[in-house]
């Protein structure tokens, strides 16, 4: 037991301990971030044969994004329509058995007409989609693109325990020796714990670095794709679903029934879009522009054609 009372830490001179404690907090925070976000060495560049729009949407923005893609799929299949700024079932006979489970969940929830914000925020729908998205979640976690909440809490908890434990020990040790100038120690312990809480918060640490890189690669790869959102919905168009899952709807060009669908969801983000456009991006509303600008070097892409020049000169 003597080691608990007499050891280098308990005897360390106050200012020196604060420096040491600061280093422990920083190292613990970096360790926590690396464990949750990954080291960035694995770039997530490998693409699946046919990316699943629901899985990509779930990775990008959870159930909210999945809801939009499901709604679009159901529109394309003729189960759902947009009328008077509300989403409702189409007036026709349904073969619900042809739907995927996640689509059935959405369709069943749509017993009454709904507004767009319901798709994003309705608790009942979110709960239903969450259950159906479990398969995507597990797949994304095993691929290293997502962190589970349990992992975030565990890593955050252990990190906070290290910081608070060391701080508390020194605090008790100092007070037991009659030193009461412990304000800096308390402030550092609280600040360090808040910082760890921020780093490990599931909302902040949900997508790993590899997952973010994967989303960027998807944006780069499919920026040239054109969705079929300018004709009346008749049958599912994979490209459209994939584009919505990757890019959301903010910059989507559409017409007819699809335009109603797009308007329904982008209405509230109009201010945000215009603000973003005015402030930095300078992009038009074209989806391909929005995506290529994210690379930071879209101008470079024009060289692709130039390389083919060998064709014209004998190659």
């Amino acid at each position: 037991m003597d080691i608990l009372v007499n050891n280098p830490i308990s005897h360390m001179y106050g200012p020196y301990f604060l420096v040491f404690y600061g280093i422990v907090i920083v190292v613990t925070g970096i360790g926590c971030k690396v464990i949750l976000q990954g080291n960035g060495l694995d770039s997530g560049a490998e693409m699946p044969e046919k990316p699943d729009p629901y899985e990509i949407a779930y990775l990008r923005d959870g159930e909210k994004a999945v809801g939009k893609v499901v709604c679009l799929e159901l529109m394309q299949k003729g189960f759902v329509r947009v009328k008077d700024k509300r989403i409702e079932r189409s007036p026709q006979l349904y073969n619900v058995s042809s739907l995927k489970p996640i689509e059935k969940t959405f369709f069943n929830w749509l017993e009454h007409s709904r507004v767009a914000s319901d798709v994003k925020y309705n608790f009942e729908l979110k709960k239903g989609l969450s259950e159906r998205c479990e398969i995507y979640k597990q797949s994304l976690i095993s691929s290293g693109y997502l962190n589970s909440e349990q992992k975030s809490y565990l890593v955050g908890g252990v990190s906070a325990f290290i910081i608070l434990g060391l701080g508390s020990y020194k605090l008790i040790s100092a007070i037991s020796r009659g030193h009461y100038n412990v304000m800096f120690l308390i402030v550092m312990a609280i600040a360090g714990t808040i910082w760890i809480g921020y780093i490990s918060c599931p909302l902040y640490s949900r997508i790993t670095t590899k997952g973010k890189q994967y989303l960027n690669n998807l944006k780069e790869t499919f920026s040239g794709l054109t969705g079929n959102l300018e004709v009346a919905p008749t049958e599912p168009d994979y490209n459209s679903s994939l584009l919505v899952s990757i890019f959301d709807l903010d910059n989507f060009k559409a017409s007819g029934d699809y335009q109603d669908f797009v308007d329904l969801f982008v209405f509230k983000s109009t201010y945000a879009s215009s603000y973003s456009s005015n402030s930095s991006s300078g992009c038009s509303t074209s989806i391909s522009c929005g995506s290529s600008c994210s690379s930071g070097s879209s101008c470079g892409s024009s060289c692709g054609g130039g390389c083919g020049g060998c064709g014209g000169c004998g190659g």
């Binding site: 693409m47 083919g308 064709g311 000169c313 004998g314 190659g315």
Partner: protein, 272 residues
Amino acid sequence: MNIEQQLGIGIGYREQFKSELFLNKETVDFLEIIGDRYLDSNQYFQEELELLTANFPLIPHFINLSLGSAEGIDTDYLKKLAKLINKINPPWWSEHLCFSKAGGIDIGHLSPLPHTKEAIDIICRNIKQVQSYIDTPLILENITYMVEIPGGEMTEAQFIGEIAEKTNCGLLLDITNLYINSTNHGYDIDQFLSQLPLERVVQLHFVGGYSHDGILIDSHSEATPLEVWQLMEKVVSITNINGVILERDENIPPFTELLKELDRARSILVSS
């Protein structure tokens, strides 16, 4: 030179069809990339290269090494090229049998060499220098030419064959170029093939060009013509081919059209 790896049917990567390419990944066995595009450390291109490397077997194809330059090889370019090839680690890589630099000036064109012993000595010297930097097998591509340089001492096929034998290089037989040259210069394709060391042919290029005033132009802009398909059938029936590349650069059609050409090439390769 012994290359075992069979890559199958692929396409020359062009950014214009990147999205469709990834959506049809399973139908493209490998990609040929223009290596010059990735020589510098431009972040956008390096990320693109990383993406392509993670998803397809890659063969780098270069256009500006200028193997036929009498003044020798640009060593700065060669060092960058060697670094890129080491990074990709392909089963082989390719360049053209031509010169594109003279007197320190990049002439921006794949220009033909005279079919002479002297030209062979120069190009062999240059290739030996390249091989001292890069262990990966080099394969050499035949080009098209509008004018045959006077003073030739041998046929084009003999010229190509002797260089390949002396340097132990493989050949990238561009069957479209062969068809165009044979038409424009009036020589016999069968005779050309009989003079070529066919066992050294590793890869084929094919695509379509257009005709202007009776002259065929290698524009890489049209669907593959029937004559080139027939030539492909002939070549794959008499020698083993490790990979075939559709090399479309201009006037790029919907990707489904390109896939049809790849399917046709695959059926020819499989039936050989």
